[in-house]
Every structure is written in C-alpha cells, then in structure tokens.
C-alpha cells in the first residue's frame, strides 16, 4: 500500500492537467465540428463526439492501469513490446483492408486498430533501452547503425502500408539521437537537405547548381587557409549537387500522384481550388474567417457545413481556428509548448538514462505530430494525414498518445527509487 500511495504522490500533476485539458478541448471541438440539431445528445453513439467520449473514458482507464504496473516492467520488456508491435505491423500489411489506399487498419470484430499508432511508443521504448545501456556510446558506428535500424524497421513497414504520414513521424527520433550525443551537424545537414529538396522543386535545376557552385567557391575563397576545410566544402558541394539532381527523379518516380499534387499546392504550382488544393484552401478559409476572437462555440459555418473535409480528425484544428480565433489557436499552441517543455524538464531530472531517452522520444513524437498537423492546416506544409495529439477524433491515436505519455509519467514517478 505504501508503495502505491507514493506513486500517486510522485505523479507529475502538471503534465496530467495539460493532458486532460487537451482531451477536453479535443472533445469540445469534435462536438462542434459534427454538431447538428438532430443529434444533440452528447452520448449519441452514432456521432463522433459520442464515440470520442468512449475513447476518452478508455484512455483514463488505460492511464490508471499504466500507473499501477511496475515501472521496471517497461524497461524489462522494452524489446518484447517492440517485437510484438513489429509483428502486428507485418500482420496489418497482409490482413488490413484498403482504406483510402492505405493498408493500416486491422479489424478485430467491430473494433478497428491501427498498429502504426502503437509503434511510436514501442520504438521509443526500444531505443531508450538500447541507448540507455552504460557501455553504449553513440559515437560508435555500430551504435549509430543499430539505433537507426530500430527506427527504420517500423518506419519502412508503415511506409509499405502506404501510410506515409505515420512513417514520417519516425523522423522525430533524430532529436533523441541528437540529445544522446549525435553531432549537431547531422541536425543541420538534414535540415539543409530538406530545405534543398524544397528549393530544388521551386527553382530550375541549372540555376540551383550554379548557386551551389557559387557558394562553394565563396567558401573556399574565405577558408583557403586550411586544406581540410576546402575538401569539406567540396564534398558538401558534390553531395548538394547530387541531392538537387536526384530531386526531380524522386519527385517524378518515387512520389505518388496525390503526394506530388500536395507538394505542388504548397509551393503554389497548382492552384486548383476544386481539386487537390481544395482541402488546404477550405482549411485556410475556415481558420482565417475566425479572426481574432473567433465566431464562438457552435457558430463556425465553414467546418460545420462540411466545407472542410475530415473536420473531426486531421483537420480538427480548423474548428478551433474558426470558432475560437487567434486567441484560441495561440492558447492551444502554448499548451502544447508547455507540455513539451515540461516533458523535457522531466527528462533532464531523471537519474535513469532509459527514462531520459524515452522522455525525449515522447517529446519528439508529440512535437512532430503538432508541427506537421498544424503546418498542414495553415498551408505551411503539404497535406499529410496525421492526427493532432490528444485532440483529433479516433481511438487508436488517442490511446497510443495516452500510453506514450503515461509510460513516461509512470517511469518519472518511480525516479526516486532508481539508484544507479
């Protein structure tokens, strides 16, 4: 008994409060998004908000269960959980039905499960376990390769399921690797590579190659003192040139037509507001029409009249933008930022490397979801269908984020018992 009391005393109530606030905001927005007078009862199970209430109750039960489980369980079974999820992912590849071109859902009776959602915390656990070992040093090539594999295996299977958005999330773990000792150059170079990719789509290849050569020449001129620097610059130039030249190939051959369209829409190459650009345009209209303070609860016309598609799942942010305005959206962003800060704070107060690394995994995954989802609705990123954490409608997503967060809170509540 003594032990359990201590668990609830040690729980990080600030994180729990932010978690509950986000879930409530989510439910209110789903209610507003699909509200109509015919189905005004909040318990109407034929409507998304009725079902979401069920998912929320389930989440709370799951959260309590996690808090009861022995904290050491997660470290001990990290690889086991990871392996199990990988099996589920492979099973989904073969068993799942085709939903909008993706094979991501396993049906168990009336219950639909998306294994990709659960792969996120499983990967975070496995990565934490691997990197948390005392003798492991990230500077070693072997370490780099194994941790990269741990991240890539689920990502590739999910990619094979045709669920590009969920696969992209695994890119977030680069922050974890960075925190655990990966050189900052990797972060900078990956950022530059993405930037270069986007620029290459917008600017003529020849001109871009010219610019790269120009920059390289300038750099060599400035740093001509050391031979090593010149070689580095030249190497960079060659790699950048290769990236630029591969872009058109990737764009034409690897990307699927709808993905190309979404990128075109983002870059302003395509302005077909009834076709591919419809979602983004309607989403911007909905958010933009909210103004400073919004139209008020249940007053949003754009989202409720089905002008915005997927308004309770991927585009839920539109409802917030339209009904609560800039005030509402900035409050929401600050809540997310607060939660992320808090998780980083929790991470750094751990004595256990396992918990710290896992905490960075949690923060990175939540951050990437928020960035990609909101970036898409406000037209800064291409349309990639991934949910907004704790807010978007959907059982799999809400439960997996709950598990992700509460494993951390459970580990955190156990921190005083760890003496190594």
């Amino acid at each position: 008994m003594r032990k359990r009391i201590s668990i609830f005393q040690n729980i990080d109530w600030l994180s729990v409060s932010l978690y509950l606030i986000l879930m409530v905001i989510g439910w209110v927005c789903i209610y507003a998004a699909v509200y109509n007078e015919d189905h005004s009862s909040i318990l109407d199970m034929s409507q998304n908000y009725g079902k979401q209430l069920l998912w929320i109750s389930g989440s709370i039960v799951i959260a309590i269960m996690i808090m009861i489980i022995d904290a050491r369980f997660f470290e001990a079974f990290a690889y086991g959980i990871y392996g199990l999820v990988i099996l589920f992912l492979i099973a989904a590849l073969f068993l799942a039905k085709d939903v909008k071109g993706a094979h991501a859902w396993i049906e168990i009776g009336a219950f639909k499960l998306q294994p990709a959602e659960f792969a996120k915390f499983a990967t975070a656990l496995a990565l934490a376990k691997y990197l948390g070992q005392i003798e492991i040093k990230i500077r070693q090539l072997k370490t780099k390769i194994i941790s990269t594999l741990l991240i890539l295996i689920p990502a590739v299977i999910i990619l094979l399921q045709n669920d590009t958005g969920s696969a992209l999330v695994f890119g977030a773990f680069i922050f974890v690797l960075y925190r655990e000792g990966l050189s900052q150059n990797v972060l900078i170079i990956s950022f530059l590579a993405v930037l270069l990719f986007v620029v290459a789509l917008m600017v003529e290849q020849i001109i871009l190659l010219g610019i790269i050569t120009g920059i390289a020449a300038l750099a060599i001129l400035l740093m001509r003192k050391t031979r090593k620097n010149i070689l580095t610059v030249l190497a960079f130039m060659v790699v950048a040139g290769l990236v630029v030249m591969s872009v058109s190939y990737v764009y034409e051959k690897v990307l699927q037509p709808h993905q190309k369209q979404r990128i075109d829409v983002l870059l302003g190459k395509q302005t077909d507001l009834k076709g591919a650009g419809y979602n983004v345009n309607q989403s911007l209209i909905a958010i933009g029409s909210g103004g400073l303070t919004g139209k008020g609860f249940l007053q949003g016309t754009q989202t409720r009249f089905e002008f915005v598609p997927e308004q309770s799942t991927d585009f839920i942010f539109c409802t917030i933008g339209e009904e609560w305005g800039f005030v509402g959206t900035s409050i929401l962003l600050f809540i997310y930022l607060g939660l992320l800060y808090r998780i980083l704070f929790i991470a750094e107060r751990q004595k256990s490397a396992f918990t710290r690394i896992y905490a960075y995994g949690v923060a990175s995954v939540i951050f990437l979801h928020v960035m990609v989802n909101i970036g898409m609705t406000i037209g800064l990123l291409p349309v990639i269908g991934i949910p907004l954490p704790f807010i978007s409608y959907g059982g799999s997503s809400l439960w997996s984020f709950t598990i992700l967060l509460f494993i951390l809170l459970r580990l955190d509540s156990f921190r005083t018992f760890v003496f190594r």
Binding site: F175, G288, A347, A363
Partner: protein, 634 residues
C-alpha cells in the same frame, strides 16, 4: 555538454511554434481575404433556366411548346419531423421510396439541395403547393417539359434529354441539369432553341434561407428564352401522311421544289413524340428501341432502298444529255445477257416517252448498256464513271446537307467497288445492268428520291432540302439555302421525261394517282429486295407547270408501286393542293390497310400521356383531321 542540447531542442520547438503563431496571426487577423472567402461559401448560385424555343409549322400551328413542371428539391439538414404518410400521399410514392430518396439526398450532401422528385405535373403541384409549408427543407424549382400537341412528326422534331458527363466534357457550355437536343430539329437547331441561362447570386444564412441578392444583384443575369422556329413542314399534311402510313413500314418525303422546303417527312412506324418526355421516357425508349419494326429508326433519311423503276428517270435524262439516246430512240423489246433475258409485259413498241409510261425494263437496260459500253468513252469503266457523275449530280450517293441530323449518303457503287468484286477491266454494262432499272447495289433514301424528283420538277436544279424556314421571324441563314444546285443535265432535256411522267399518271402504270384536273407527273417503282415482297414506290410532282409539291413514297414489302405508294402520294398531293379529298373510298382502303399483321405493333401497350385539353393547339378545326396515332393498332 549534452544538457545544452536540451536548450537547442527546446529552442527548435519554440521557433517552430513561434513561426506558426506568426502565420496564424497573418491568416486570422491581418489577411481579410479569407473572411471574404468564407462569406462566398454561403453564397448560393441559382440558375434561371431559359424557356426553350417553340416550334411552329408553316401555317403557324404550334407543334412544340413547353409545359411547366416542378422539381421538388430537398435540403436534408433542414428537414424536420414531418407527416410522412401525408407527404407520400401528396407525391404518390411509397414510404420505402421516401426513405430511399432521403438517403440518396443525404449521401449527396446534407447541406446542399438535390432533386427529391423530378418533373411533378402541374395538377399534382397545385395540391402539393398548398401543403408545402408543412414540410421544412423542401422547395420546388420550376422546370419545363416539351409537349407535342400535334403528336406527329416524331422523327423530324426529335427529342431532348438531360446532358450527361461526357457531353459536359465535350461542350463546356452545358452544366449538370441542362437539357440538350438529342435528335431531329431539337438537335440540329440546339443553339437557336436553347436560349441563354441566367444566374442569380443569393446570400443564404446558416439555415440555408435566402437573405436577398448579393451586392444588390450586380452580378445577376436574366435568362434569355430560346428562339422560336417556324418550319416549312405542313402539320396537316404531315399528320395526314402519318395517318395514311399507319400499319405500314416505309418513309415519305415531300418538298416544295421551288424552294427546297420540306413539307412532310416521316418514317413509319412512328410514335407519339410525347412518349419521349418526362418520367416515362426511359421505359418508353426501351420499348421502342426493341420493337421489330425499329420505330426509332428514321427511314426517311437513313434507310437504303433500291429505287426500282423510279430510278429510270435519272438514267434516261443522263443518256439524253450525253446524246446517247434521243426522244425517238427505240430498242428491241428484250434485253439478253448470256442465257438470261429481261422481259416485259406486253405493250406496243415504244420510244422513250412510252418506255417511261409503261416502265419498260428491257428498254432501260438497253439505255444503260448503250451509255456505259459506249465507244466514245473507250472503256466500260470510263463509261460508268461518266454515268455515275451524272447520277451523283442529282444528289445520290452523298449527303445532300439537309438541316436534320443523322442523314446518310446512300449507296452508289464506286468503280473500285466493282473492281474488287469482278476484277479490274473484267466488268461492263452487261455485268451491272440492273443499276439501269434501279436494282442491284443501289441504296437510296426517300429524301434522296424526292430530291431527284425535285430536280426534274425544276428542270435541272434543286435547293438544299430544309425544314426550318424562319428563326424568330428572320430568314434561316444558318445554312446556305438559297443556292441552286444544278444537275449535269441541261434544262431543255427534261421535257420529254416529264411528258413521260405525265403519261404514267394519265395512261400508264399510275392511273390511280390522278385526281381533279391537275396535271400530275409521276413514276411508279416496284423494287425487288432480298427481304421479302417487293417494295412499293412512287415519286411524283404536281402541278406540271410551277410545281408546288414533289413527293416520294416508299412502302416496304407491300407489292406494286401502284397499289400503295401511288395512292398515298396522290392523296397527299390532293390534300395539299386542293384542301379536300375527293376519293374517300381510296382513302379508306389505304388507312385501313394493315401490312404489319405479322407482328403486333409496339405502342399499343405504351402508356400515352394525356394532353391537357386547354393546351391543344390553336389549329382551326377544319384544317385538322382527327389523327389516329400510327402507334395504335386498330
């Protein structure tokens, strides 16, 4: 050192969130265009459908008009609990249908309107309108249906239908819900008839209720009604011809030679054009398109018939013009090819005029041979080429360019065609002599037959046959209708042939066609065909000087030209020229004649939409005979 990395990561998180905040501030607070767009989302574009042009005949009888019907529209979201039983009773639908229709509408959109019930007739609408206030979410949109008060000329008038996606793709003018002419005049004069759509932009509130026009109607446009067409068709003559042709298969075309105006054009069996309108259309179309007589097939312009003896006229004219024969040329009373010989019924030895009068087959086989194998052309191939050019100049073997759709060119065999069958240089007149008497590989439509007759009546030329005389009171200038198309036969050549044609009616094969003291020129034809009994044909024009009407009648598988085709043509000419019928017994025999006994006629089982009494045309009683619909089996 690694602890500093926490600051870097937190910094990246913060920077991204700040960028997003800045973007949101721009989108939500600074930029006004999204607020405007949001209001655009609640603008509704209401189409103001124009009235399609009306169609009158040459005497001003209304042949096609629009009847108002009403589409019941529904916006599912606004539908409140309603008395389903009463609603279904008003619309005459079952509860299951009601549920289905509501589901369909919901599936389309809960917030946008869609058609709940199409084409509600005015009587039903009158009852519905009084109760409509009880049913939230339903409103009516006025549309129109085509109505055909004369119930005739189905093939010529054609019909309209809703545009499909393929049509919209091909022609961006059209939008979903528009009507377009699919056949007949409705198709060929679609541009004139359709008018111009209007558009109203209205603002709607959250509850989809209209809140007035947008920017006080600055961008609204009013619909412009389609143009009214005045046809050259004579509705009375048309209906009479259809009555004469009831229970017979074939085609008729009648033209005013001096102008090329089509006075009557019909294909039999026909159908009541009102069947191709409204809700019953699909069902009726299916019935008509599968009947054994192919009622939907427009025989007047699309059926290839052997012209038989009527074709002797063009052959004779060509030979005369080439001075291969003269009016006094006499041939032996037989035509022998190898072991076969073409014989004739007994009549005195004759020159050209008499040969026409008695329709002497050996004579015209000899004319054909004299032409094609003539030494002055060198080879038979060259001879045939000259002959073919002559025939073609009468409008055979090519489209004449009538202002109705789906006209076919007919068959006039080419040299290559015979080379393929017999080998190059291995055929001559004796191989293909049956062309000389209108048999063999010839295929001519009734419209082409009347056009040849028209050339003879005009002594050498024709105007392009056309059915639309004026458009909104102005001369029809959509096509070149004032050009005289000359045949290769010189005008002075025609008299001897016309003399022969006059003798055909006065003392030859078509004495039955004579009426009153009008000088009629005609030619019978009895065409052998592989499908059974001979086709009965007759071409004629009257009066001989200043002809007012030329007519070609074709009755399938009915026997001698004089038995059916000649009386029908004669009765038509009599009605048109004298306004009376002096031979009621003949008329009765023709009308009662049933040549389609073998199969029951379709149409008997078709549901006929009743015409509203008050909308029956303004036609004078005496100009309008009671027309039994040809679809009806007596």
């Amino acid at each position: 050192m690694n602890r500093n990395k926490r600051i870097v990561i937190a910094g990246i998180f913060t920077v991204v969130i700040l960028i997003y905040l800045a973007r949101m501030f721009y989108v939500q607070v600074i930029n006004e265009s999204y607020k405007l767009s949001a209001s655009n989302n609640v603008l509704r574009y209401v189409i103001d459908y124009p009235a399609r042009g009306l169609i009158y005949d040459r005497t001003g009888t209304l042949m096609v008009y629009n009847e108002a019907v009403y589409d019941l529209m529904v916006i599912p979201r606004q539908v409140k609990s309603l008395d389903t039983a009463e609603f279904c009773r008003l619309l005459d639908i079952t509860k299951e249908e009601f549920i289905n229709k509501m589901q369909t509408a919901r599936r389309y959109s809960r917030f946008k309107s869609s058609v709940f019930e199409k084409q509600i007739p005015p009587e039903q609408y009158a009852v519905l309108q009084e109760k409509l206030y009880k049913f939230n979410g339903f409103y009516v949109q006025p549309r129109t249906l085509r109505k055909y008060p004369t119930r005739s000329a189905a093939h010529a008038l054609g019909y309209i239908g809703e545009v499909n996606e393929k049509l919209i793709e091909e022609n961006p003018y059209y939008q979903m819900g528009d009507y377009i002419g699919i056949s007949g005049i409705e198709q060929s004069y679609e541009k004139e008839l359709r008018g111009k759509r209007g558009l109203r932009i209205v603002m709607v509130d959250v509850h989809n209720q209209e809140k007035g026009s947008y920017e006080s109607g600055k961008y609204d446009s009013v619909s412009v009604a389609g143009e009214n067409l005045f046809l050259s068709l004579d509705a009375r003559l048309q209906a009479y011809a259809e009555q004469l042709m009831q229970n017979k298969a074939g085609g008729i075309a009648a033209i005013e030679p001096g102008t090329g105006e089509i006075l009557a054009i019909l294909s039999s069996p026909s159908y009541d054009p009102n069947l191709m309108v409204g809700k019953a259309r699909n069902k009726n179309y299916a019935l008509l398109s599968t009947d054994p007589y192919k009622s939907l097939f427009n025989r007047a312009m699309m059926a290839y018939y052997p012209p038989g003896s009527t074709f002797k006229l063009a052959g004779a004219l060509s030979a005369l013009n080439e001075q291969i024969i003269s009016s006094s040329t006499v041939f032996p009373h037989s035509f022998i090819v190898g072991s076969k010989s073409v014989k004739c019924h007994p009549h005195p030895a004759v020159a050209l005029e008499g040969a026409i009068q008695y329709s002497c087959n050996p004579y015209f086989c000899n004319v054909f041979r004299a032409f094609v194998d003539n030494r002055k052309y060198g080879t038979s191939e060259n001879g045939y080429r000259v002959w073919r050019d002559y025939i073609m100049s009468f409008g055979v073997g090519r489209k004449i360019g009538v202002d109705l759709p789906h006209e076919l060119p007919g068959l006039l065999p080419s040299i290559a065609f015979y080379d393929k069958i017999y080998g190059k240089g291995r055929w001559k007149a004796s191989t293909i002599y049956s062309l000389g008497i209108g048999q063999g590989e010839l295929g001519i439509t009734p419209l082409q037959m009347v056009n040849i007759t028209s050339v003879i009546a005009n002594r050498g030329f024709y105007y392009t046959p056309h059915i639309v005389k004026t458009i909104s009171g102005k001369k029809n200038t959509t096509r070149n209708l004032s050009e005289k198309h000359y045949s290769k036969v010189a005008p002075e050549t025609f008299n001897v042939v016309i003399d022969g044609m006059q003798r055909v009616v006065e003392a030859g094969t078509a004495r039955i066609a004579q009426f009153g003291n009008i000088r009629i020129c005609g030619k019978t034809g009895t065409a052998q065909n592989p499908h059974g009994k001979d086709h009965s044909l007759f071409v004629a024009f009257a009066p001989r000087e200043n002809p007012k009407i030329a007519v070609a009648v074709m009755v399938e598988n009915s026997g001698f030209g004089a038995t059916w085709a000649a009386p029908i043509a004669s009765l038509m000419m009599e009605l048109y020229l004298t306004d009376t019928i002096s031979r009621p017994e003949l008329e009765k025999r023709i009308i009662d004649g049933n040549l389609l006994k073998d199969y029951p006629l379709p149409g008997a089982e078709l549901k006929k939409p009743a015409l509203r009494k008050d909308s029956v045309p303004v036609a004078k009683k005496d100009t309008f005979k009671v027309v039994k619909n040809p679809d009806q089996t007596p």
